[in-house]
């Protein structure tokens, strides 16, 4: 700030402040960025949040645990199923319920399907930000197939609220396994098309390679997780380091790059789709028999204490922290959402790049704004 004032006094050209958002097509929601420019060079990016702050954490204090599940859907709506899982796991951990294998496997399959559809939407919208309209059509065409699978089993397309404390809402549809296998067969064929359109595109690569570099040290100190952090070499996959549900029984690679630029953040997501398909393939044929839900008490009361659960959403690490005073609703619930933390690094990695690169860099972090504000 002091620097700016000095410059104005000596009569040099003033910094140009431009306001991006809250209604702006490339911020994917209602994020407002106050950008300080010098010519075309970004000097400072100041995110203003709160345009979609609904007070979910506060609301959770006055509702019961099964009701909280439905609010977590609306935080990061693109990884809705994984958000549900985090609260369910926290509640189950507190009550020390043993979850049958069938539930664990089905939850994992749904989490991975959710991850694929989220990355498909990322690919579609990121391609559109970069000026490629075709990506939008290709990505969303394939996303509809996953939504069909969701709909058949759960009745919902996007916010499925399929997990509940103690298991699942209902059993899987008889067609489920066949549909998922068909989808994977189809998507393995289609994914090279994605690479052909965008990954190998000269315009795209020249706009993203070497832009918005995030070093490993910065990624760790800012706490950037998810594919964005792993593109910088930060091994932060909760599925690997602290396996929950059925992740301890599947083999998959943690996608790691060391470059840490915009292009590799994009590439990490594409590779994650492949890994997700590997995980699903290992599980889909051997879903164990058993009940789809454990019988829980009609009113769930957690014993007094503090409970913590980490899960890996499609954007990074989601931590749920519950403080219970023994009642049917939590005393305090805190969500450490990945997007809020990932947004913090935006100013650091966009500095000294052009304003046009700001779109590319902000897009590659794959921010979901309601996840930031909650």
């Amino acid at each position: 700030m002091e620097e700016n004032i000095k410059e104005i006094v000596v009569g040099e050209q003033e910094d140009y402040v431009i306001n991006m958002g809250p209604q702006h097509p490339s911020t994917h929601g209602v994020l407002r960025l106050v950008v300080t420019l010098k010519g075309e060079i970004v000097k400072n990016v100041e995110p203003h949040i709160g345009y979609i702050h609904r007070g979910i954490e506060k609301m959770c204090e006055s509702i019961t645990y099964p009701q909280i599940i439905h609010l977590t859907d609306r935080m990061d709506y693109l990884s809705a199923s994984i958000n549900n899982e985090s609260v369910c796991l926290a509640v189950e951990k507190a009550l020390e319920v043993d979850i049958p294998d069938r539930i664990k496997v089905i939850r994992t399959i749904f989490s991975e399907l959710t991850r694929i559809q989220s990355h498909q939407l990322f690919w579609a919208s990121y391609g559109m930000d970069m000026g490629g309209q075709t990506c939008f059509f290709y990505g969303l065409r394939d996303r509809e197939r996953i939504l069909d699978i969701f709909e058949e089993t759960t009745g919902g397309r996007m916010l499925i609220s399929y997990n509940c404390p103690g298991g699942l809402m209902y059993d899987i549809h008889p067609n489920f396994q066949k549909r998922v296998k068909d989808f994977i067969k189809y998507f393995r064929k289609v994914l090279p098309e994605y690479d052909a359109i965008l990954t190998g595109n000269v315009i795209f690569t020249s706009r993203t390679k070497g832009i918005g570099h995030l070093s490993l040290e910065d990624a760790i100190s800012y706490g950037v997780t998810g594919p964005s952090g792993r593109a910088s070499g930060f091994s932060c996959d909760v599925r690997k380091h602290e396996p929950y549900s059925a992740y301890d029984r599947v083999k998959f690679n943690e996608v790691l790059y060391t470059e840490g630029d915009t292009f590799h953040r994009y590439l990490a997501r594409i590779e994650e789709m492949r890994e997700s398909m590997n995980i699903i393939e290992q599980l889909i044929d051997n879903i164990p028999e058993g009940p789809y839900a454990v019988k829980m008490k009609p009113i769930i009361k957690l014993p007094e204490g503090e409970y913590f659960q980490r899960v890996e959403t499609s954007r990074g690490e989601l931590d749920t922290f519950v403080i219970s005073d023994g009642n049917k609703n939590p005393y305090r619930i805190k969500f450490r959402t990945p997007c809020f933390v990932n947004l913090g690094v935006l100013n650091h990695i966009t500095r000294d790049f052009k304003i046009a690169d700001l779109i590319a860099i902000a897009g590659s972090l794959d921010l979901v704004i309601p996840d930031i504000d909650r």
Binding site: P22, Q23, H24, P25, G29, V30, G50, Y51, I52, H53, R54, G55, K58, M59, S62, I63, H70, L71, D73, R74, Y77, L78, L121, S125, F136, F137, L140, R141, R143, E144, L147, R157, M158, L159, I369, P370
Partner: protein, 186 residues
């Protein structure tokens, strides 16, 4: 006052003509209305305004499966000055409400509002206990069509937009003027 029971002299009388226009029975004007309405309803350009989950379903409506563009709505406009209809897709909170109002004011007439999803209709899942959510977007701007759901299916949004087209079809110049006056007085 119908056109048939009119005396010849009154046709030259300007005051009577004004009366006739107000009752909206003029053949010429109604034909023009038809043409204008047809044009307007066939090219409804929405504003890219999405705050949360419903925005994704709005994107899916524009995607290949549900192809919005069959009805002339595919051109999403980023600027409110070029848009005809604002689809309020998602929750509106206290901080966003002035921005939404300004966006609505910046749109040029004729402008329409579709409230998409439970949040925009009534606050939806955040109706109780939330300290920051506006309980229905009609407290901020006048709404023409409500599309229920959380979030609504793309088919539901399409149906809502077709209802909006039907509404536009029945408009006349006078009803439009009254509507504008009514909205401005709010």
């Amino acid at each position: 006052m119908g056109i048939k029971g009119m005396k010849y002299e009154e046709f030259k009388d300007n005051e009577s003509l004004e009366l006739l226009r107000e009752s909206g029975t003029n053949v010429l004007l109604t034909t023009i209305d038809d043409v204008i309405n047809w044009g307007r309803k066939s090219s409804l350009w929405p504003l890219t305004f999405a705050t949360s989950c419903c925005g994704i379903e709005m994107m899916m409506t524009g995607a290949p499966r549900h192809d919005f563009s069959r009805f002339g709505m595919e051109v999403y406009r980023a600027s409110p000055r070029q848009a005809d209809v604002i689809v309020v897709a998602g929750t509106i909170v206290n901080k966003m409400a002035p921005v939404l109002k300004r966006l609505y004011d910046q749109m040029s007439e004729p402008k329409y509002v579709v409230a998409m999803g439970a949040c925009a209709i009534s606050g939806g899942p955040f109706f109780l206990n939330s300290y920051s959510v506006i309980k229905g977007v009609e407290h901020v701007i006048p709404v023409d069509v409500y599309v229920p759901g959380c979030p609504p299916r793309p088919e539901a949004l399409l149906y809502g937009m077709l209802q909006l087209q039907r509404m536009i079809e029945t408009e006349t110049i006078h009803s439009r003027r009254e509507r504008v006056a009514k909205n401005n007085s709010k």
